[in-house]
């Protein structure tokens, strides 16, 4: 909220940088402001359009576990609160495109319901992407990370064995604003159904698998830093929802290294969360259609298999998919792990002067680290911009 209201911040959401020219102190940036087909200055965020929109698609905010309409707000409390029409989902826009291409008018299904219902007359199907330019003295890349989608790790059965989820999908399940309003239903029981069925059973046995795609010689050797903690958190919250629930965390080392984290881990143990020192070998589909986890308990030196209702994969924190493209666009280098490379003893300087990086784009970091890094990067930017300005002034 503070960002939306700040007089010194111009927020260009639903936009992407196309080109960067210039040097520190004088960058010329070309930005594409994508068409929302909704007039930002008129939209009041009232939501009447989405209520009436007839088209439903899987909702990326809920990691595909729920649905949203073709006209949507990314999430309820989002800033800006302007709605957006997804051009790939909207049948009216598709119809307009088809018309332009000379398709048979009688075959085109048009809609236009949102425009009819909008009291503020904010819908504008003719809106175009805008190309704008900004002159800036420094650039900060805070482009975050990507969660590994573990389909590639075939032995874990993601996408094949029912009720195997990534951690972020599980977060959406736990959330009161998620697809199940916080009820721990098993996804196989409701995903893809037209209406949420009644009286679904709650999941009673949860397994959290650590290091999925991390610390893995076949994929990425790096440790993703925060997943041990979020699995512990998810286990604790799940047990808060239902104290009889079983939560097992399968990991090699439990990395609770931040302030207050070891105490948090201890709390998990005390409320009955089980920690098994292991690296899960395989997840198969059991006779009940539920996932079976195969693992070696290394302290017992025995192999076990166990059925669970939901398996949560703590999958790796990876550099953003378009990192190589980004690197080219901005003229910077990536490190050996694919994250944005920084210079020795200058933790936020990329390899190009005037361009800085902070947060997970630099490497895995949890929230307080990202916040501290962001503040420090701000100091670094201030330092460099002011030094440049002084240099120029002295010429």
């Amino acid at each position: 909220m503070d960002v939306g209201r700040h007089p010194k911040i111009e927020l260009l959401a639903y936009s992407e940088v196309e080109r960067v020219d210039g040097t520190v102190g004088a960058f010329d940036v070309t930005i594409r402001k994508k068409a929302r087909y909704v007039d930002e200055s008129k939209c009041t965020g009232c939501g009447a359009c989405a209520e009436k929109c007839p088209t439903r698609v899987p909702d990326p905010y809920n990691e595909g576990l729920g649905e949203r309409k073709a006209i949507y707000r990314y999430f309820a409390q989002g800033i800006p609160s302007t709605y957006t029409i997804d051009p790939d989902a909207c049948r009216h826009l598709a119809g307009l495109r088809a018309e332009k291409e000379g398709a048979d008018k009688s075959k085109i299904k048009k809609c236009g319901v949102c425009a009819k219902i909008c009291q503020a007359k904010a819908i504008d199907y003719s809106q175009q992407d805008q190309i704008i330019h900004r002159q800036v003295e420094a650039i900060v890349l805070a482009v975050g990370y990507e969660v590994l989608k573990p389909e590639g790790i075939t032995e874990y059965g993601y996408g094949r064995v029912p009720n195997v989820l990534t951690a972020i999908e599980f977060e959406r399940l736990l959330s009161a604003s998620g697809p199940t309003a916080g009820h721990l239903y098993r996804p196989a029981d409701f995903v893809g159904k037209k209406k949420m069925p009644e009286h679904l059973p709650h999941a009673k046995r949860l397994a959290f698998i650590q290091c999925v795609g991390s610390r893995d010689g076949r994929r990425s050797i790096h440790c993703s830093g925060f997943c041990c903690m979020h699995s512990i958190k998810e286990a604790i919250i799940a047990k808060e929802h239902d104290s009889e629930l079983e939560a097992w965390i399968f990991g090699m080392d439990i990395r609770a290294v931040g302030k207050g984290f070891e105490e948090y881990r201890l709390k998990a143990e005390q409320i009955g969360v089980k920690f098994v020192r292991s690296r899960v070998a395989e997840i198969t589909k059991g006779p009940n259609g539920l996932p079976i986890v195969w693992y070696e308990d290394t302290r017992a030196r025995r192999v076990y298999s166990r059925e669970f209702d939901i398996v949560v994969l703590a999958s790796a924190c990876l550099p953003p998919k378009d990192a190589p493209l980004l690197a080219e666009k901005f003229g910077i280098e990536l490190d050996s792990f694919g994250f944005i490379k920084t210079r020795p003893f200058a933790p936020f300087d990329t390899t190009r002067e005037g361009i800085f990086v902070c947060g997970c784009a630099r490497g895995p970091a949890d929230i307080p680290e990202s916040v501290a890094q962001a503040s420090s990067a701000a100091a670094r930017v201030a330092q460099v911009v002011l030094q440049e300005a002084r240099k120029v002034a002295m010429q």
């Binding site: 009232c46 939501g47 440790c223 830093g225 890094q373």
Partner: protein, 576 residues
């Protein structure tokens, strides 16, 4: 409702009931609420808007203030946290003191929680508005406190965190006073042999930093100094230092950055620690830096010594950096002495992130051995070996030859920490690490304005993390100083010294250190700049001498009575 005849002609209230799109109007009858409001005492204008926070809504408020000569404005809409500042600005722009504005939350507190009872929700909204109007009668005009603030900051601690904060601030144009207790700058980092993960020499990081700080025109460095007193508050701190060969010196600053660092724990009585054969990881660093490890052929390292433990005198936390340090030193030993055997006995190997994990893989490939042990069955140090049962291999006890045993101990709070905490009345946790304002979102601020922290005094961290935090604290200070003044809300507590008996109950309960005791007059007083208006003192005071402006009993009781109005019908006799 009782009227105060004296004030009634001055009270002209405008009520604006917001539809909030469909957020409110979808669940209750806004027009009915506005109509009801117009019947309330003092209300001369009442209307509804679709979005009061929109440009047109704001314009309407301003117009009504001017045309209807309103002396109070009540907006019934969402939470004050969203748009109260906006509405107050609107009042101010129209010439009405912004503190004569009252907000009623009929969204979070009404429409959002009563989505299926339109009639009852409407009645409740009417009740809430009646309460808001009742309070509006008794609002007082107030002025915000403004205090000019000078760009001068003290940094306590000359290690990497403090040096980074000082350098950053000075480059931003701020004057810095850097206070260090020892004869040297550079702190713990300079004492290390090498820095993980790239095995850089600490001198390469720290010496140039020290150079820049010592020669910076805006930084004044005091070494071998101890702090005798720190008094004051944001914008107005006075520090008294005792500087070797210079005597007592006074410095005046606007803000303080605490960077007093941490020190390695000495594991007296644990694992046969003797400082000769059984040493700490820090002592190993010193040896690697200077005399080496002699002709030791077998080195065994034990992790979590004195850490992650509930035992008396030991620490419960994980000290974050010791596993990375152990692996780093193991790598260095193997590189220097390829035939040396290094084993690390651990509970969890905490080589987090990308570079540290890569270091672990390299150590394994170089033949460093890792053995898991159970905290309930810890290793035992014998004369020439370490005995450990590592269940992942077998149930038998392994005997690992050991010429040197290295104990990885946690970093613990510096001795200076409780001293500074006391001098400045800032909080520390059970481990004497400083307690930040919010562990997630404000890790470098204290709850008290004007004081910041960074580095290991907050929690053990690497030298890179200390540098990051130091720079971050500088940014936080920069944000404070950039406006050139501190503006704080007028809604603060104040003490009526005629009835205050000096019991200091308020002083003890204040979380912001905003109350002081005046020895000569035996009364307490509130510093309006530090007071955040939480009201704890007001609740604690046995004589009602402390009152919170904007929330006085004379303002709250009418609200309570107004709330009870709707119960009037239920009780035959009700003296209000």
């Amino acid at each position: 409702m009782r009227r105060l005849a004296l004030k009634s002609k001055d009270v002209r209230i405008g009520v604006f009931v917001c539809h909030c799109g469909s957020n409110i109007a979808g669940y209750l009858d806004c027009k009915a609420v506005a109509d009801y409001a117009s019947t309330l005492p003092g209300v001369v204008y009442s209307t509804t808007n679709l979005y009061t926070c929109s440009e047109s809504g704001i314009a309407e408020i301003k117009r009504a203030i001017t045309e209807k000569k309103l002396t109070r404005v009540v907006v019934a809409s969402c939470s004050p946290r969203t748009h109260e500042p906006l509405f107050k600005s609107a009042c101010k722009e129209a010439g009405l003191n912004p503190y004569l504005f009252e907000m009623v939350n009929i969204r979070d507190q009404c429409s959002w929680v009563h989505m299926n009872s339109r009639d009852e929700a409407t009645e409740k909204a009417k009740n809430l508005v009646r309460m808001g109007v009742a309070k509006a009668w008794f609002l007082e005009p107030q002025e915000d406190f403004e205090m000019p603030i000078e760009a001068r900051v003290a940094v306590i601690g000359g290690g990497v965190a403090g040096l980074s904060a000082a350098e950053s601030l000075a480059d931003m144009g701020v004057s810095v006073v850097l206070i260090e207790k020892s004869p040297h700058l550079g702190g713990l980092t300079l004492k290390l042999n090498s820095l993980a993960p790239h095995l850089h020499n600490p001198d390469d990081l720290v010496n140039p930093l020290i150079e820049r700080v010592e020669h910076h025109p805006r930084i004044k460095v005091y070494k071998e100094s101890s702090i005798k007193k720190i008094e004051g508050y944001v914008g107005n701190y006075r520090i008294e230092l005792d500087v070797k060969d210079q005597g007592v010196i006074q410095e005046a600053v606007s803000a303080v950055v605490v960077a007093v660092g941490a020190k390695p724990y000495i594991p007296q009585g644990l694992y046969g620690y003797d400082g000769e054969r059984v040493i700490t990881q820090f002592e190993l660093e010193q040896r690697l830096k200077s005399k080496g490890v002699g002709d030791a052929k077998n080195v065994v390292m034990i992790q979590c010594v004195g850490a992650r433990s509930q035992a008396e005198g030991e620490k419960s936390y994980c000290s974050r950096i010791c596993c990375a340090t152990a692996v780093k030193n193991a790598l260095i030993l193997k590189e220097r002495f390829p035939d040396i055997k290094v084993s690390i006995l651990y509970r969890d190997i905490q080589t987090y992130g990308s570079d540290f994990e890569a270091m672990l893989w390299k150590a394994r490939s170089m033949g460093v051995r890792f053995y898991v042990y159970d905290p309930s069955d810890p290793p035992k140090v014998a004369d020439n070996a370490v005995l450990v049962r590592s269940k992942i291999f077998s149930d038998d006890v392994l005997e690992l030859p050991a010429d040197i045993v290295v104990l990885s101990t946690p970093l613990v709070a510096s001795d200076e920490a409780p001293v500074i905490a006391n001098l400045m009345r800032i909080p520390t946790d059970a481990n004497n690490f400083f307690l930040e304002a919010h562990v997630k979102l404000r890790p470098l601020d204290f709850a008290t304005d004007g004081v910041f922290l960074c580095g290991s005094c907050r929690f053990p961290c690497t030298s890179e993390e200390a540098r990051i935090q130091g720079m971050g604290a500088a940014a936080r200070v920069g944000a404070l100083l950039a406006k050139g003044k501190v503006i704080s809300s007028a809604l603060v507590a104040e003490v009526d010294s005629s009835t205050c008996c000096g019991c200091q109950g308020c002083l003890r309960i204040c979380p912001y250190g905003a109350i002081t005791y005046d020895e000569s007059r035996h009364v307490c007083q509130v510093n309006p700049i530090l007071c955040k208006g939480c009201g704890a003192c007001t609740a604690a005071c046995p004589s009602q001498s402390v009152q919170l402006k904007g929330f006085r009993p004379s303002q709250l009781l009418p609200q309570v009575r107004a709330a009870m109005e709707s119960l009037r019908e239920m009780f035959v006799s009700c003296e209000l």
